[in-house]
């Protein structure tokens, strides 16, 4: 649970130590420690509102921590200026919880965007790659639609396609399967696993699809009260006797869970 002295920092794609962040008086992150080993999928689970999205936004420095450090590929980026951060961010593929598709662009343009902006691929190569990715997320034939013309689940999948299309080294997925039907959820899980295997990606994923998501996870972190209550491999976590986690799995949130926002420092 506590990060043991790590002699080989390069084996972690993402490493977070003692991360703290409050909004006004509300303490959201209260000393989070997390390691994402290179080439692994780490899934963060936890009750709604416990700060999972806030944590992800700290990993890509959209938000800055009050204390603690964030290390990406062995580089401490916590206090890096945004110009210097760009070279780090080019490794990221981020799926926002609400999609964050560019609503003035078609689905095709959205998915092509990272390729157009950040690679020197030719038009045909981009086109082929985009259509292939759209097919993989089950949106074949939808490329000319605008985000506002699609259902929530379709938007989510388009956003996932945009996060995957340029094969980033580090994937950050905020609830990739929320709002999808069960069969689609399974297909998306397979896609994430497959992409991750094929390209040797590292991934941090936030998900509420417990326990379905454990099938594709290498490690699981259970977030509670602004900390990682429990981390380990899927087997370790499932075998743990942690009360909170058991209650979480069983779908019986304690009063504490619902009030976790009020955790004070």
């Amino acid at each position: 649970m506590t990060p043991e002295g790590n002699g080989k920092p390069n084996t972690n794609a993402v490493e977070v130590r003692g991360l703290k962040r409050s909004f006004g008086r509300q303490v959201v992150l209260n000393g989070v420690d997390l390691e994402v080993p290179a080439g692994k999928i780490v899934t963060i689970v936890g009750p709604s509102g416990c700060g999972k999205t806030v944590l992800l936004k700290h990993l890509n420095l959209l938000l800055r921590p009050d204390a603690g450090s964030i290390i990406i590929d062995g580089i401490d980026v916590t206090r890096m200026r945004s110009a210097a951060l760009n070279s780090v961010r080019e490794k990221f593929g981020m799926l926002f919880q609400a999609g964050a598709l560019f609503d003035s662009m078609t689905v095709f343009e959205n998915v092509a965007f990272p390729l157009v902006e950040k690679t020197s691929l030719s038009r045909e190569q981009i086109r082929a790659r985009v259509l292939e990715t759209l097919t993989a997320v089950g949106l074949q034939g939808m490329d000319a639609k605008y985000p506002s013309e699609m259902s929530g689940g379709m938007q989510k999948r388009a956003a996932l396609a945009r996060a995957l299309v340029h094969r980033p080294k580090i994937l950050m997925l905020d609830e990739p399967t929320t709002g999808l039907d069960p069969s689609r959820t399974g297909a998306i899980h397979d896609l994430i696993r497959q992409t991750q295997r094929n390209f040797g990606l590292s991934a941090v994923m936030v998900s509420h699809d417990v326990p379905a998501v454990f099938r594709i996870s290498d490690r699981v972190a259970f977030m509670h009260r602004g900390r990682m209550q429990l981390t380990g491999t899927v087997e370790e976590v499932m075998a743990s006797n942690d009360d909170e986690f058991k209650r979480f799995l069983a779908g019986r949130a304690s009063g504490d869970d619902l009030e976790n926002n009020q955790v004070s420092s």
């Binding site: 890509n60 959209l62 070279s87 961010r89 964050a100 609503d103 902006e117 950040k118």
Partner: protein, 253 residues
């Protein structure tokens, strides 16, 4: 109490500094690569080309009003021959740049603030940031460039239409001497006057884009935040346009 006051003064200074920095950034990022000419072209269409009809309409009526009022006033002095000069100088130096800028602020500035505000509240701006794309460079700088290009063009179109509008009413309807109308303009309208009009248009273009983008970019992430940003963009743009009009006019005379 005094502490509170001090804090709010400090906040005000910080906000002002942010506001000015935003202008510097948006211009600086337009000058350093990667350049986004195609984004600027798209914005020129939205700000400039799509405003064309409105500008022609407003320009024509402004000229017609000036033709009518100018004629009835000048006739009292027996100087109807000076109508062209009056209409041209008033439009080219003052009304053209100011009215065109106010119209574009209301039309394109508000739309821009709303669009950027919506992009901010749906995390599209964050999405750009995570993709290692500077959102100011991607969203604001092309608009700034487009404003700097579009405003002078729209203003000269306004000027020409306005001068003709004044001629139609002053000479066509009211009977001012048509030859004098254009001879007066030819004699009195100098490159200096046209330059003043263009400088003003340029300043107003920067002001409208700066204010509108700033307000939209810093909108609170909710519907009322976006609507407030839109209103503030138009109001602040208009106020700054009139203030800058006086300052530029006084400096260049």
């Amino acid at each position: 109490m005094i502490e509170r006051l001090g804090a709010s003064i400090l906040d005000g200074i910080v906000a002002l500094g942010n506001f000015v920095l935003f202008l510097f950034n948006s211009i600086a990022f337009a000058l350093i690569p990667p350049y986004k000419p195609r984004l600027a072209v798209r914005q020129i269409r939205i700000i400039g080309a799509d405003s064309l009809f409105l500008i022609v309409l407003i320009g024509a009526f402004t000229g017609m009003v000036l033709g009518l009022q100018g004629f009835t006033t000048l006739r009292r002095f027996g100087s109807e021959g000076a109508l062209g000069t009056v209409v041209a100088l008033v439009i080219v130096r003052e009304l053209g740049p100011v009215l065109a800028a106010l119209m574009i602020a209301a039309r394109a500035g508000s739309a821009m603030a709303a669009e950027l505000g919506a992009m901010q509240s749906t995390e599209q701006v964050d999405a750009l940031t995570v993709m290692a794309i500077n959102p100011v460079q991607y969203l604001v700088s092309p608009r700034m460039v487009a404003g700097i290009i579009s405003f002078p063009l729209l203003t000269t179109i306004f000027d020409v239409i306005g001068i003709w509008g004044g001629w139609v009413v002053g000479c066509g309807l009211m009977g001012a001497p048509s030859g004098d109308y254009f001879n007066g303009i030819a004699a009195q309208l100098e490159s200096h006057d046209i330059a003043i009009g263009l400088y003003k248009a340029l300043c107003f273009g920067v002001i409208v884009m700066w204010v509108s983008c700033y307000k939209g970019y810093h909108a609170q992430r909710m519907a009322t935040g976006v609507s407030r940003a839109t209103t503030e963009a138009v109001v602040l743009s208009s106020v700054l346009i009139l203030m800058a009009d006086y300052i530029v006019g006084a400096l260049l005379l």
